[in-house]
Symmetry: C2
Subunit: 453 residues, 2 copies
């Protein structure tokens, strides 16, 4: 019944490069940014407030305007659409947004046009969940296997996963969904923290943050590595000393190595018993990851935040290239493609530990991980979802991580939608280049606000 | 000595969808387009004319503005650069344009930001070749092995190709380069034509165009397939009947199949003895192509026009997934990445048969194929480069294909540069949306100029 009456696309950038938050060996000075999509409707929600859809994709600064421009072209296709008709066939909505052959040429299914369609579809999924007055994970978990498979994009996957196999995976979990929901309501979904280990932090800050992570109940801590081996050895020593032998340490190289170099470097760090090496080399290099994995076992191999689509994940699974699937909710084309990857991962028995951090990613991944446990993988073994404690204050319904007694976990989202609505005041302040913050910074160039390098 | 004083980026679109030129099973109504980059300098060439650099990437319509916007941001980095200093280290120019970590996030090395950097670097290579008063292929063929390897991007390739191996490949061809140049001066570089076989053409038009290709001396003809099997059988019958048993027939599915469907469909068409099946499935599916290749031999497998970077090609070679490498001069990041792929292909013994057609691609690929033969692969066996006879009239130095007595071939380019300068009048007419043609079409909507479907 409600109809989409308009779209607004905002280029929102936060000056995170000032504090080295998010710094790693590849990305030294990112300004965490969102290409933010707002779908307006003529309807109201159950509280009488205007009904809208709010979605985003994450970038690290320059070029966020390019993603926003692409999202503007794609989102325009939704104006005039009936929200209930969309909700009844989100697979069709996905196909209508991804099958323009002229725009497809610019990927296909990768890069700017895929990031932008993710933002638009994330807003569409948020909208239909709000319309149903359900958190998105529950909307999806309440679907029948047929409905969920119809929403998923299984194109190009049939050599690895047929529709019948997908249905069988979902049917096998159907009867016990409520038990798993009840379990997560008690424990939350397991998380790990990356907030401690950014490459630009001093040793003292690293030590202090590792201790804070231990004190907060985290069982896992992740460090950035890859710029300098001696530094990495020293930082891993500090982290291992603080977290002790039983908590898990992960390391993340953010793609800086060639394959032979990755193998050599990880072997040097293996003495610190890392659970995984993340992004050891180019995110496109399926066979390279497989070679690294064979060479560095028992250290696991993880990747996915830059894995651009389900066809790449299919190959990572087929080639036995990864131990952990770190899909990204801003890079895959929203729930339609994410469900396909969750199904593939379940088929191949690879645990999904989504990438988060940035801006808004934690808000989204909690829904994805909960869906995975409740309706698809049905298992928490080997699963732990990233959490970074930055920028949540800009969201109206921020994720909550709490220690429930069995370790830190994402508290099950309870409010309708995908949790990615931003405060209008935050958008007004950090819109680039004309928001309050950026206008002021521009006018005070060369002042204390200049970037610290 | 000359300095880049400014850049101009144009969104140029040709209304090819009106005539179904370029139609295939995935791309039914492309408007062939160029994100066109002009680098202005304060210098002159040897004729006294203003010295400039002209480059492009190819798209098929909508979204060309997005690529142009990205190119504008990247090309701005070149303003103020000394042309001779650039020419002395084009590897550094490449790195300066591709290593912005914030823009890199939008790929990495794929999609819009990779297409756009290709356009900018194509213009830069055109500029340095014009400055040297050499066609680009000769500028490159005259480089020492060390110079050419220094210009190439070998990052992420060392597990398949070391720098020393790259140098050895080039050194082995050094002494005999002049002989191969002389050979091409006599024969041209072998071509095949796709002009005959677009999917939207009628059977009569297909028959006539196949006959024209035979009459013009072509030894190869390519057809689009994949929309309907019965149609494909009929069209392949017509083509094979016209070209006879000895000329080669190629078929191209433009990514429409899943892997099992590709295998089944190609087996049905195998009776027409195709040399290759092109783009049988997703361009990202290295392992899928390998499976298709194993299943449809002796039909070869070809792909590359959507293969987004050297890391993907490395895996296609490592996995034994393709018989023919169809790299694209608008999709790879110009000569720097193309040389890396040519070296990989030479190492693995896979013939490179570049993708062309579109707008401006034929102008570029002639330089690449000549370089490959003269300095890298040193062989014509199994090589044939695409030629499509559309839109050449818009270039100041269009490629020329002629029958030299030993079959049709690209005539060796003789004028300085990369052959991609467009006539200013063409840009003025087809600039979108404000050029003469598009302004008129907009004002006569619903008239005879409306697209024919």
């Amino acid at each position: 019944m409600p109809t989409i009456t308009g779209v607004e696309i905002e280029d929102v950038r936060f000056p995170t490069s000032l504090t080295a938050d998010g710094s790693d060996a590849m990305n030294k000075d990112g300004d965490y940014s969102a290409a933010y999509v707002v779908l307006r409707t003529d309807g109201t929600d159950t509280t009488g407030a205007p009904l809208g859809g709010y979605g985003l994709t994450f970038t690290i600064g320059r070029g966020n305007d390019i993603v926003a421009a692409a999202a503007r072209q794609q989102a325009a296709l939704l104006v005039g659409r009936d929200v209930d008709e969309m909700a009844a066939d989100m697979g069709a909505v996905y196909r209508s947004l991804t099958s323009d052959s002229q725009l497809r040429w610019l990927g296909p299914e990768k890069g700017v046009v895929h990031l932008s369609v993710a933002a638009v579809l994330n807003a569409a999924w948020d909208l239909v969940a709000r319309r149903a007055s359900k958190p998105l994970w529950r909307l999806l978990a309440d679907m029948t296997p047929e409905q969920l498979v119809d929403a998923a994009d299984l194109r190009y996957l049939s050599d690895a996963l047929t529709r019948d196999e997908a249905l069988a995976i979902l049917r096998a979990k159907e009867a016990t969904k409520a038990e798993r929901v009840a379990h997560l309501e008690r424990t939350g979904y397991p998380v790990y923290t990356t907030s401690a280990g950014w490459l630009g932090y001093s040793d003292d800050k690293l030590r202090r943050l590792c201790q804070e992570a231990v004190d907060a109940g985290y069982g896992h801590v992740k460090l950035k590595v890859g710029a300098d081996l001696a530094d990495d050895v020293r930082r891993c020593s500090i982290a291992r000393e603080v977290i002790g032998p039983d908590r898990r340490l992960m390391i993340d190289a953010n793609q800086v190595w060639d394959v032979p170099q990755a193998i050599e470097w990880v072997r040097e760090l293996a003495r610190f018993d890392p659970l995984w090496i993340e992004e050891p080399t180019s995110p496109d290099d399926v066979l390279g990851h497989a070679a690294v994995r064979r060479a560095v076992a028992p250290v696991g191999v993880a990747t996915g935040e830059h894995c651009h689509n389900r066809v790449m994940f299919k190959q990572f699974f087929q080639a036995g290239a990864i131990d952990f699937c770190q899909l990204d909710t801003g890079r895959l084309a929203s729930i339609n493609e994410i469900v396909a990857v969750l199904l593939l991962a379940a088929k191949f028995g690879v645990p999904v530990c989504p990438h988060a951090g940035g801006v808004g990613l934690c808000e989204m991944v909690q829904h994805v991980s909960v869906l995975d446990y409740v309706a698809i993988a049905g298992d928490l073994e080997g699963r732990v979802t990233e959490f970074v404690d930055h920028l949540h204050e800009h969201f109206t319904d921020p994720c909550v991580v709490a220690d429930t007694g069995s370790g830190s976990g994402y508290v099950l989202p309870a409010r309708p939608g995908y949790s990615t609505q931003m405060h209008p005041a935050s958008v007004a302040e950090f819109r680039f280049p004309d928001g309050g913050y950026w206008s002021m910074r521009q006018s005070s160039e060369d002042s204390v606000l200049a970037p610290v390098r």
